[in-house]
């Protein structure tokens, strides 16, 4: 091909503790600041040191839709990584490494690659230097290899180390330049068409977006117990607690976290919590409490590989069933699954609004891939005004907390108003909140109250279904031969797959769910009009397809399931589809 590549996949690999994440961050930011697009995924394990960790960055002039499959360039940081990663590099690719750490002859592993071994210990002799700075040198060499502007790197380093003083800045810049110069002298930059558009985008992950989205939309109370891959939200918000006057609370467990949130929400505060599947499992009882007491809470479940502790640092979309069935008995809940980082920001705000509009738990499904992969993203702007629903701070003469209304939503009095005293109970109650399970249950009058108040609560589900739930998006050619059906975080990967397939002469489009429950009317219509559907899910049992079937009877018979803990890429999906297609 004569046309130069407009994107490139870089992998940085080593062991936990080798500083891979921060090297990837430095490199990613350098790219982002030149207006390039970045998608970066950290493949790590449940160990703090050692093992095999790698960060893969897909850099492009256009938006990169996944972190890519095989890398074009690999930076290898320790002696065990060549054996693992060299076989995976694209034909004709490049390997950068520190030959002071890896003295081996790597070329014996594969002949088609170009190897650049930079002898860090010889090249940098400054007494202030520390081992991990070799990463900076290798980033320098990478920048030069890709023909990026080194000045952006130097500027970034000087900002990054401002607080550590000039000495540290200078040393880092020196090391960086060493890498740049070494490639200039001993290597050859790749022929690429990597042109930034000059727009400075954020480089952040989904957890940052959730955190910022909550904050920007009025969050004032957040409680959590650490659990990967949800902890990033806690870390983000904790840092903003003082500047933005929020109470951010690490509690003793997840049972406490969600119940703290219910308490705060009851006080009239916008409140949320996040966890992963295991923590959510512990929150199940309280989700029903919020449903029964009609408390506006938001719970984010960042899925990871299950079941049980499972593969905690790996990807899965395995908790949809859990959220659908969470808590005994019946009450309204809303489940949203944002499709990308920008959507995560806005969904956080939307969830806070919906929780207050319907006074019921709103559950957000994220996953490790969405929450922890980094993307270049346009700065967020709040587009959704904060709407707090039927809320009041003063009580009329005959205030009823659970007043039966047409839409099932009752005016919510913030406690503290004179004369408004009421009790919110987990026991069944009448419109005033007076418990009917104690001495009245089973009497004819209570049967009627029960029927009415249960119907009132469930009404909210129907109103939400018609007023707020969005149909899945459809993208790609209208009359496609094949429709890929996905939900949540797989959006971009499926888009990428469509691009690949359509470039190959297929006619494939993409139907994508973000509003999972209650499911809006019209889904069956949409599906029926598709010629052939393949469900693409990062799980074993196709939970979304099952939900669709339960709601619409439509049976998505062909599915692609990935449950090894890895996220999809477009290439991966496209390959699987091609295989599937031969069976059509």
């Amino acid at each position: 091909m004569s046309q130069k590549k407009e994107s490139i996949v870089v992998r940085i690999a080593g062991a936990a503790g080798d500083g891979i994440a921060s090297a990837a961050d430095v490199f990613g930011r350098i790219c982002a600041r030149q207006g390039l697009h970045v998608t970066a995924y950290n493949s790590y394990q449940s160990a703090i040191r050692g093992g095999h960790v790698w960060y893969q960055l897909n850099i492009g002039s256009q938006k990169t839709l996944s972190h890519g499959e095989a890398p074009d360039v690999a930076i290898l940081l320790n002696r065990t990584s060549p054996a693992v990663h060299i076989p995976q590099i694209k034909k004709g690719g490049v390997v950068l490494y520190n030959s002071s750490i890896i003295p081996d002859d790597l070329s014996s592993l594969r002949k088609d690659l170009t190897y650049y071994g930079l002898p860090f210990r010889e090249l940098v002799k400054d007494p202030g230097v520390i081992a991990v700075m070799a990463n900076t040198m290798l980033i320098g060499s990478l920048v030069q290899l890709l023909n990026l502007n080194p000045q952006v790197g130097l500027d970034f380093l000087s900002e990054e180390f401002t607080r550590k003083g000039d000495k540290v800045i200078q040393l880092n810049q020196l090391v960086f330049n060493t890498g740049v110069d070494w490639i200039k002298k001993n290597g050859k930059s790749l022929e690429l068409q990597l042109n930034g558009d000059g727009i400075k985008r954020m480089l952040l992950n989904g957890n940052h977006a959730f955190g910022m989205g909550l904050l920007a939309h009025g969050l004032k109370f957040y409680a959590a117990y650490p659990m990967s891959p949800a902890t990033g939200i806690l870390h983000y918000l904790a840092q903003k607690a003082k500047s933005h006057k929020m109470v951010i609370k690490q509690t003793e467990d997840e049972l406490a976290a969600i119940n703290f949130v219910i308490g705060a929400a009851h006080a009239g505060v916008r409140a949320a919590c996040a966890t992963s599947g295991g923590g959510f499992s512990l929150m199940v009882e309280a989700v029903g409490l919020a449903g029964m007491m009609e408390e506006p809470i938001v719970v984010i479940n960042v899925q990871r590989g299950g079941p049980s502790t499972g593969i905690p640092t790996k990807q899965e979309q395995g908790d949809l069933n859990l959220l659908l069935g969470a808590s005994h008995g019946e009450f309204p809940r809303i489940i949203l699954a944002p499709k990308d980082i920008t959507d995560a920001f806005h969904t956080a705000g939307r969830a806070l609004n919906l929780a207050e509009k319907y006074q019921t738990p709103v559950l957000i499904l994220s996953d490790l891939y969405l929450s922890e992969s980094f993307r270049t993203t346009e700065p967020f702007k709040v587009t959704l005004p904060i709407e707090r629903g039927k809320v009041q701070t003063e009580a009329g003469s005959d205030y009823k907390r659970f007043l039966i209304t047409e839409d099932g939503v009752s005016p919510r009095l913030i406690p503290g108003a004179p004369n408004g005293m009421y009790v919110s109970a987990s026991d069944e109650h009448d419109e005033k909140g007076i418990v009917i399970s104690d001495v009245l249950a089973g009497l004819p009058a209570s049967l009627e109250i029960r029927n009415k108040i249960q119907a009132k609560r469930m009404k909210k589900l129907e109103v939400a279904r018609t007023e707020d739930m969005q149909l899945p998006t459809v993208s790609g050619p209208e009359k496609a031969d094949l429709t890929l059906l996905g939900w949540g975080s797989t959006y971009d990967a499926i888009e990428e797959a469509c691009q690949i397939l359509n470039a190959n002469g297929h006619k494939v489009n993409h139907l994508h769910f973000t509003d999972l429950f209650p499911m809006p009317e019209g889904v069956h219509e949409l599906l029926k009009n598709c010629k052939e559907i393949i469900g693409v899910e990062n799980n074993f049992t196709s939970q979304m397809c099952r939900l669709i079937r339960a709601e619409t009877s439509y049976h998505v018979q062909r599915t692609i399931n990935r449950y090894d803990g890895e996220p999809f890429t477009g290439e991966d999906i496209a390959n699987r589809i091609k295989k599937e297609m031969t069976h059509v």
């Binding site: 003082k242 406490a256 006080a267």
Partner: protein, 286 residues
Amino acid sequence: MSEAKDFNHETHPDWCPGCGDFGLLQALKKTYPLLNLNPHDLMTVSGIGCSSNLPGFINTYGMHTLHGRSLPIAQGFKLGNHKMTVVAVGGDGDGYGIGVGHLVHAMRRNVDITYLVMNNEIYGLTTGQTSPTSDLGMKTKSTPFGNPEVPINPLTLALASGCGFVARVYTGHIPQLVEILKKAIEHQGFALVDTFSPCVTFNKVNTHEYFKTNTVDIQKEGHDPSDIYAAYKQATRTDKIATGIFYQNVRSCYEATEEETLAEPLYRHKLGLTEEEQAKLCAEFI
């Protein structure tokens, strides 16, 4: 100025006649006026159990929640609106059984709430099983051959967990109870009052008679509530059942660590960001 009757609720308590919980209810209604608290100043939070029905019988704001979870909810509420006085109530099963983990953490955390446990040494609402405070060997529906477990001592537990106000009292002794409730609510920080509140239906051992006969008021004996070791001894003495304030020690409460944020109650904060603030947050990632 409030009066006791302002706290009367239209719902008559569904407790068994003679249930010890009536004593606490009555004492609360007497105490609040002494503290100049109005019904709307108060949030009563409970779990599940006979005792946890209390919020439905007193005219204050209330939350009647999940078995064992009253404390996280009460703390969350208090942080959301720390101008209100938050009183958590419940049973021994609720607080010392399923809920004991939250209790231990709440005591060290020291959010300014008051926790009143109606300890009847039995599971009342579920009709009479062993509770974590049931006597060793006690025969109950779930332990027909005798309770095999040594009971929890809520007082030593509280002392060991950094609780700044530790008291115990029998609900039949209303004046002592009112006195202690008053001090507990006034105490800045987490206060635990363990109340002996006999279950007349399912506990035929720890009866009103039993507590009338066997308790002693340690304040009358000159106990010094600032001496934690003396408190441990009182809490474990075997000649008599000690009641009174075992220990009090004022330390900075949790809300103080959020002083700036809580200058105004959280629920009254203005929500949302200016465009500049939003842009600044974004800029951190560029």
